[in-house]
């Protein structure tokens, strides 16, 4: 009779491992990760190993899910810094079109748009330090909107293809200052 409980727990561990391998969304996998760690710790305690069980609970239930949440929390947003002077009203039409293009572009990749407009600093420093994805500004002399972003990002290439037909938008890509290697 007492041999049934470890067998049931081991079969539950196999089912959770299968659910993790075959699931598609990233956020629900994190909860499955925490429950995997807890059931594994119970199995270690039932196998007469209390030291290993304490280590697994402390590390696998608090520290590991926190690190996973932090590392995937940034992947749902696309951050835009808007530096256009909105007091001039003759740009309103083109402004609306630009935001329609950006909304369509963001919906293709299943992200959310996050627009902010009050951070100081030069363009290179901002893309490196704060990881802003796109900076919009309006050039008075050439009468054009400029989009600035990193040159190695896949999203910037796609944005370049999407805005080829519009004459008043130009996409400028910046290379990073120094690379890791």
């Amino acid at each position: 009779m007492t041999n049934i409980i470890p067998t049931i727990l081991q079969i539950l561990l196999i089912i959770i491992a299968l659910a993790i391998v075959f699931h598609k969304e990233n956020f629900t996998i994190i909860i499955l990760i925490a429950s995997f760690g807890l059931i594994a710790a119970t199995l270690y305690a039932l196998n007469q190993a209390p030291d290993v069980a304490i280590a697994e609970v402390a590390i696998g239930s608090a520290i590991i899910p926190l690190i996973y949440v932090i590392s995937i929390s940034r992947q749902r947003e696309f951050i835009i810094l808007d530096r256009v002077n909105h007091d001039m009203h003759d740009l309103d039409e083109m402004n609306e079109e630009i935001y329609m293009i950006l909304t369509n572009f963001v919906n293709d990749y299943d992200l959310r748009l996050n627009v902010c407009s009050d951070i100081e600093g030069s363009a290179e420093e901002l893309t490196k330090e704060l990881n802003v994805d796109l900076i919009i500004s309006y050039d008075e002399i050439l009468k054009r909107f400029e989009f600035k972003g990193k040159s190695s990002s896949i999203l910037m290439k796609r944005l370049k293809e999407m805005t080829k037909d519009y004459a008043y938008i130009s996409v400028i890509t910046l290379k990073e200052g120094e690379s890791i290697d």
Binding site: T7, I11, I14, G37, R74, S151
Partner: protein
């Protein structure tokens, strides 16, 4: 208490590592392989009627303490390696904009 069920967990981890499209999922399949390995090691010393390896009185029946000492270091090292891998994954996301293996392996052209 069954070594074969622990081995099945290891094999599920290997399958997930070979066919995953996400970088984050393949980092977690390494953790699944480690949990299965620890269960397999602990199964090799246990027997019916054995007790935990802490001596209350000298000379009672205990379980083998050597695999447990090795597995404690395995858990701690596994968590630090996971954090190093995830830091690299965050940097890849900032550089390329997505975390699929196909996109990252193509490089920037």
């Amino acid at each position: 208490m069954n070594p074969i069920l622990s081995f099945i967990v290891i094999l599920i981890g290997v399958y997930g590592l070979a066919t995953s499209k996400n970088i984050i999922k393949s980092v977690f399949c390494v953790t699944i392989i480690e949990a299965g390995t620890i269960l397999l090691f602990l199964n090799f010393g246990v027997y019916e009627g054995g007790l935990i390896p802490i001596l209350n009185a000298i000379g009672i029946e205990i379980v083998d303490p050597l695999p447990q000492a090795l597995m404690i270091t395995t858990i701690v090292i596994g968590s630090t390696i996971t954090s190093l891998a995830l830091m690299l994954c965050i940097k890849i996301f900032h550089h390329y904009g997505s975390i699929e293996w196909k996109v990252v392996l193509k490089g920037d052209k």
